[in-house]
C-alpha cells in the first residue's frame, strides 16, 4: 500500500497561519462604513407579563429605530426543535435575559444609553426554579400546557424481581450544575443588504444552514434571500447552535437597508445563549456478592430552563448512557426534560452523556466499597465487551476495547 498523505502525518491546520498572525477575521473584526449599532433590551424579571413603551427611547438623538415584536415581518418564533423562543417577547418573559427590544443607533454608546430608556412594565407571575417542583401539577406553567417537555423510557428485563436477588443495593441522588461555555469570542455580527437585495448576516455560528432558515422565517422572506457568512469562530462548544443575535441584526438591516453591527459584552453573552443541563439523578443499583451488576433503576430530571433548545436530544442521550459502559440485565430508566424559569439549556460538549457518569460511576465505587473489592475490579467484571448488549438492546459486535483501556490505566497508575 502506498503511504497515506494525511493520516499518520503531522499537518499544519489550514487556518493556523491566519490565527498565529492575528489576521483571522472574527465577526467583531469587521468594520463596515456607516454601520449602525444594535443593542438588545432584555428582561430583568424571571416570569412576567410585559408592556413595552419605546417612545422616550426613540426621542434620544442618534437613535434610528427600536424594534419590538410588532416589527417582526415574519414569524416571531425560533428554536432548533420547537419554535418556543420569540424573536422579541410579545406577551410575557420566561427568564432573565429574554430579548424584548432592539435599539438601533448611530453609535454603541447611544444604543446602550437609549436601551435604558425603553420602559417595560412587568406584571410578575409565579415562577419555578427547581425541575422537580416544575413537574408537579400545581407548578406555574411556563409555556402553554405542561412543563414536562420530553419523556424517555427504557426498560430491559425485570427490575423489581432482580433487586430481590441482589446482595448489595445502593440508592443515591446526585445533582450536576448548570455550566456556561464561556467561549472566548463573545457573540458578534454584522448584517447588510447587498446590491442584489440579499440579506447577509455575518456571525460566528455552528449551524449556518439552519440559521439561514430561521432568519428567513423570522423575516418572512425566501431562504434564497438570506446568506449566512460564517467567519472565524472563537470557540463554541455547543453554545452557538441556537439563534442569538442573527434575526435581530437581519431584521434591522432588512427594514432600514443599512448595515448594522453589534458585539455582546461577556455579561450579555452569559444571558444570550444556552447552558449545559443540570440534571437531578436518582439511582438504585444492585449487584451480587461477586460484584456482578444485576439491576439498575434511574430517574433523570433535566432542567432545560425557559426553552427547549436541544433538551430532547440531551435527555435522550443521558437516558441512553445512564448505565455507563456496563452490562446490566435488568434496567429501568426514566428521563425527563422540564421547563423552569432558569436560563435555558441546550447543547454543550457531550450532550447529556457528560452528566450521567457523575452518578453511574459513583454508584460503582460505592458498591465496590461495600463488597470490599477494588474500584478497578468491579469495572473489569462489568464493562462492555464484544458481544455485550446495552440497555437499549444494541449488540456491540465490533471494537470494544474498554477492558484493555482500564488495564492500561491500571498498569500506569499502580
Amino acid at each position: 500500500m502506498e503511504p497515506l498523505k494525511i493520516v499518520g502525518n503531522r499537518e499544519i491546520r489550514v487556518d493556523g497561519m491566519a490565527k498565529v498572525t492575528g489576521k483571522a477575521i472574527y465577526p467583531q473584526d469587521i468594520f463596515l462604513e456607516n454601520a449602525l449599532y444594535g443593542y438588545t433590551v432584555r428582561s430583568t424579571k424571571v416570569h412576567a407579563k410585559i408592556e413595552v413603551d419605546i417612545k422616550k427611547a426613540e426621542e434620544i438623538e442618534g437613535v434610528v429605530k427600536i424594534l419590538t415584536h410588532k416589527d417582526v415581518t415574519g414569524m416571531n418564533a425560533h428554536g432548533v426543535l420547537f419554535k418556543d423562543q420569540e424573536v422579541f417577547c410579545s406577551q410575557k418573559v420566561r427568564r432573565i435575559g429574554d430579548p424584548i427590544a432592539f435599539v438601533i443607533a448611530k453609535s454603541q454608546k447611544v444604543a446602550k444609553e437609549a436601551s435604558k430608556m425603553v420602559e417595560i412594565k412587568y406584571t410578575e407571575l409565579p415562577a419555578v426554579f427547581d425541575p422537580v417542583e416544575a413537574m408537579k401539577e400545581d407548578a406555574p406553567i411556563i409555556h402553554d400546557t405542561t412543563n414536562i417537555r420530553y419523556y424517555y423510557k427504557c426498560r430491559k428485563g425485570n427490575v423489581e424481581e432482580a433487586f430481590k436477588k441482589c446482595d448489595v443495593i445502593v440508592e443515591r441522588e446526585y445533582k450536576t450544575s448548570m455550566v456556561e461555555h464561556a467561549f472566548l469570542q463573545t457573540e458578534s455580527g454584522v448584517s447588510y443588504v447587498d446590491k442584489e437585495g440579499v440579506i447577509n448576516v455575518c456571525a460566528a455560528t455552528q449551524y449556518p444552514h439552519f440559521d439561514q432558515l430561521e432568519v428567513a422565517e423570522g423575516l418572512g422572506v425566501n431562504k434564497e434571500q438570506v446568506r449566512i457568512i460564517n467567519p472565524a469562530v472563537g470557540g463554541a462548544f455547543g453554545g452557538r447552535e441556537d439563534i442569538t443575535l442573527q434575526i435581530h441584526l437581519a431584521l434591522g438591516a432588512y427594514l432600514l437597508k443599512k448595515p448594522i453591527r453589534m458585539t455582546y459584552s461577556r455579561e450579555e453573552s452569559f444571558y444570550a445563549h444556552a447552558k449545559r443541563h443540570p440534571i437531578v439523578m436518582k439511582y438504585k443499583t444492585g449487584a451480587d456478592k461477586n460484584g456482578k451488576l444485576i439491576a439498575m433503576e434511574a430517574t433523570l430530571i433535566g432542567d432545560t430552563g425557559a426553552y427547549a433548545s436541544w433538551a430532547i436530544n440531551v435527555m435522550r442521550k443521558a437516558g441512553v448512557h445512564a448505565t455507563g459502559p456496563y452490562e446490566i440485565q435488568n434496567v429501568a430508566i426514566d428521563s425527563y426534560s422540564v421547563y423552569t424559569n432558569n436560563p435555558y439549556c441546550g447543547a454543550m460538549r457531550g450532550f447529556g452523556a457528560t452528566q450521567v457518569p457523575v452518578a453511574s460511576e459513583q454508584q460503582m465505587d460505592i458498591i465496590a466499597e461495600k463488597l470490599g473489592i477494588s474500584p478497578i475490579e468491579i469495572r473489569l467484571r462489568n464493562c462492555f465487551k464484544v458481544g455485550s448488549k446495552t440497555a437499549t438492546g444494541q449488540l456491540l459486535n465490533e471494537s470494544v476495547p474498554l477492558k484493555k483501556c482500564i488495564e492500561e490505566v491500571q498498569n500506569k497508575l499502580f
Binding site: R10, I12, R13, D15, G16, M17, A18, K19, V20, T21, G22, K23, A24, I25, Y26, Q28, D29, F31, H181, A182, F183, L184, Q185, T186, A232, V233, G234, G235, A236, F237, S265, R266
Partner: protein, 167 residues
C-alpha cells in the same frame, strides 16, 4: 481629549484620544490592529494582551492616555520580513492553535516570557501564561509550543552566531 505620543510595532504615532478610551479600542478601532482580541473586558481572559515597554498588559484595563510615551508590540508586530516569528512557527508546529481567539495573547505572553527567560521549565511556562485563558482547553499543546519556541530561538541564535563568525 489628550494628545499622546507612542510607538506601535516600531512606528511612532501622535494621536488625540478621549479620556474614556481604552487601549484595546484605540488599537482595534483606530489603528485596525484587530489581532488584539477582547474577551471579557475585565482583565480575566488575556485575549487582549499586548506588550508595553517589555511587560505584558491587558489592553482592556489600560486607558489609551496611559500609553503616552510607551512602546507597544501587538501580534501584528511580530511577523518578520522573511516570515513568521519563531514563536508563531512553534505554535503552528505544535498544534497549539484551535479556535485561535486566545492565540495572539498567548503568543505575546510567550514572547514576554522568553525575552526574560530563554530556557523556561514547563512550570515556568505555565506561570508565564497564567494570565491567558484558552477555552478550547489546549493548554498542553500551548506549553509544548512555548518549549519548542525556546528551542527554535536558541537554534536561531546559534545559527546567527556561526554566520557572524564566518563574516
Amino acid at each position: 481629549m489628550f494628545r499622546i505620543n507612542f510607538t506601535i510595532n516600531n512606528k511612532g504615532y501622535t494621536v488625540d484620544v478621549d479620556e474614556a478610551l481604552r487601549l484595546v479600542d484605540l488599537l482595534r478601532d483606530k489603528f485596525q490592529l484587530t489581532g488584539t482580541k477582547e474577551g471579557c473586558a475585565e482583565g480575566e481572559c488575556g485575549a487582549c494582551t499586548v506588550i508595553m515597554d517589555g511587560r505584558t498588559v491587558q489592553s482592556c484595563l489600560v486607558m489609551a492616555f496611559q500609553a503616552d510615551g510607551s512602546n507597544i508590540t501587538t501580534i501584528e508586530g511580530l511577523e518578520r520580513e522573511d516570515g513568521l516569528h519563531p514563536i508563531q512557527r512553534a505554535f503552528l508546529d505544535a498544534g497549539a492553535v484551535q479556535c485561535g481567539f486566545c492565540t495572539p495573547g498567548m503568543v505575546l505572553s510567550s514572547k514576554a516570557l522568553l525575552d526574560k527567560n530563554s530556557n523556561p521549565s514547563r512550570e515556568e511556562i505555565r506561570e508565564g501564561l497564567s494570565g491567558n485563558l484558552c477555552r478550547c482547553t489546549g493548554y498542553n499543546k500551548i506549553v509544548d509550543a512555548v518549549a519548542l519556541a525556546s528551542k527554535y530561538l536558541k537554534e536561531e541564535e546559534s545559527d546567527g552566531a556561526s554566520e557572524n563568525s564566518r563574516k
